[in-house]
């Protein structure tokens, strides 16, 4: 097909082509991702064909298990349980970590005193916290969520402490002169300045938390993706393990795309964008 001569185009065609090319540029990354994932699936299929066996199922088998688990409702029940724990631990970790981080970042002597504690907590392995939480507080939901949050809190504290150190005192002074209330100060002065740090802590937070949640479920809960994976590990059912893993990764990616990224775009709408 040859490109038409621009000379004999009807008026309006140029605009049409422009919108078409905009659509193409918008679709290209999506297309690339789709092709890339398809490539991975194909590679996996070939490998599974080359080394057949129960320990290495192909994508077709995993898909079958996924559909079966979805049809009997198990998949959504366990995904929901895990997602609930991820959300709860995330909220607890972000709130507690942010408050501690901002306090440390704005009080130097407190920071100096508590820094060694922070380093200690940063280096305690997640597994130790989980085991101790179950021993001390019993095999219950609060202990599970608390253990995950405690694993994440030191990271949030470190990030938010940096954020608090970078606060511009002139905004706080303006707020003091015009007698902003506490709530207004937090909402309109403090949080917008901390937003990039909150975003950074959230991103690394979600990634870390959902991995730890699986361990918590494996060790002491009777539902959730972690529990299912442990169950199928004992049954040596790799197809089911992969089915649950892929389903959960997909859910986390969707959350990232539909919740986290639009949220960040909304929070930074005031920044001047290159035209």
């Amino acid at each position: 097909m040859s490109a038409p001569d621009p000379g004999d185009r009807p008026p309006g065609a140029a605009a049409e082509t422009a919108s078409q090319s905009r659509l193409t540029t918008a679709l290209t990354p999506v297309l690339t991702v789709a092709v890339s994932l398809l490539g991975l699936c194909l590679l996996w299929g070939f490998a599974a064909n080359a080394w057949p066996g129960r320990a290495f199922p192909g994508p077709g088998q995993v898909w079958q298990v996924l559909r079966a688990e979805a049809a009997n409702g198990d998949l959504f029940y366990h995904l929901g349980a895990t997602l609930g724990r991820v959300a709860a631990a995330y909220v607890v970790a972000m709130v507690v970590g942010s408050v501690i981080g901002v306090l440390l970042g704005s009080h130097r002597s407190a920071d100096r005193f508590f820094s060694p504690w922070l380093i200690l907590f940063l280096n305690i392995p997640a597994l130790v916290v989980i085991v101790l939480a179950y021993i001390w507080f019993g095999l219950n939901e609060a202990a599970a969520i608390g253990a995950v949050a405690v694993n994440k809190i030191p990271n949030v504290v470190v990030t938010m402490r940096e954020g608090a150190r970078a606060l511009d005192p002139s905004y706080a002074e303006m707020a003091a002169v015009y007698r902003f209330g506490l709530l207004d100060r937090v909402r309109h002065v403090l949080l917008p300045q901390l937003q990039p740090y909150l975003a950074a802590a959230s991103r690394s937070g979600i990634a870390l938390i959902w991995k730890i949640v699986l361990v918590v479920e494996l060790l002491g809960r009777s539902n959730g993706v972690g529990f299912q994976i442990y169950l199928y590990f004992q049954l040596f059912d790799v197809a089911a393990i992969l089915a649950y893993t892929l389903a959960f990764v997909a859910v986390m990616l969707v959350i990232e795309l539909l919740l986290v990224q639009p949220g960040e775009r909304h929070a930074t709408r005031w920044r001047r964008r290159p035209a």
């Binding site: 002074e173 003091a176 015009y178 007698r179 902003f180 209330g181 005031w270 920044r271 001047r272």
Partner: protein, 246 residues
């Protein structure tokens, strides 16, 4: 003793203000600084750069409590204080209008601001973010924020610094317009003598650091009589009274 309910003028009596740096060097910024601003008067603090003008305003705004001496702000009625800082200090993540409204007390939050925005030429910019404003426009927004508050006292710290002369001149006229609509006890810091002569009822002349009052220069003439001819007379008599200043 003031009668109950009487409006007390702005009275400043700072014995000393000393900054101590981490290296142990100490700088005395203010020493025996005392003056008054009468009710409804527009006063200018005029002094050389670095003499301690911003330091004085920060003390009056309650941002610096580490000094010896005392000061008194007008009481009764609205006891609010409004400031226009050396930089506009608008919240970059809030629009111009949100910046103005957030600084208002709860009871005034929803008040009609059309007149004020119109006067200051900001009518079309209410929904812009500060990053989209020029410095001159940002300064106007800072003025709008201060005046919307209907304060009992207004403190301004070189609100026209680092603007080109034409923009500064327009802003001075705008300031006069909004101020005349509701004359408020005002204290403005400047090191621009012409600006002080054009705007103020009285000029408080400060000495080099540590700042103290060299003397007062009253400008009793109504502002609309201060044409270029009168201004040059005022300048001459100022220089006669304070030779070597500015």
């Amino acid at each position: 003793m003031q009668p109950v309910g009487a409006v007390v003028p702005l009275r400043v009596d700072i014995a000393e203000k000393t900054f101590r740096s981490a290296q142990g060097v100490s700088i005395t910024a203010l020493q025996d600084l005392s003056f008054e601003v009468r009710q409804g008067e527009f006063a200018c603090l005029l002094g050389p750069s670095g003499c301690g003008k911003t330091t004085t305003l920060r003390i009056l705004l309650g941002l610096d409590k580490d000094f010896s001496g005392s000061f008194q702000l007008p009481e009764g009625g609205s006891n609010r204080i409004a400031a226009v800082f050396q930089e506009p200090i608008l919240l970059p993540w809030r629009t111009v209008e949100q910046n103005v409204r957030l600084a208002l007390p709860k009871g005034l939050r929803t008040k009609n601001l059309d007149g004020l925005f119109d006067t200051l030429g900001l009518a079309g910019m209410r929904s812009l973010y500060p990053a989209e404003l020029s410095l001159g426009l940002a300064r106007r927004a800072a003025l709008a924020r201060a005046f919307a508050n209907e304060p009992a006292v207004l403190l301004l710290d070189e609100p026209f610094a680092s603007l080109d002369e034409r923009t500064a001149e327009r802003l001075r006229h705008l300031l006069l317009t909004v101020w005349s609509a509701r004359p408020t006890t005002a204290l403005m810091v400047t090191h621009n003598l012409r600006e002080a002569l054009m705007l103020s009822d009285r000029i408080i002349v400060l000495a080099q650091r540590p700042a103290h009052v060299l003397g007062m220069f009253d400008v009793r003439l109504p502002r609309h009589y201060r044409n270029p001819q009168v201004m040059s007379d005022l300048l001459r008599s100022f220089h006669q009274k304070f030779p070597g200043v500015v």
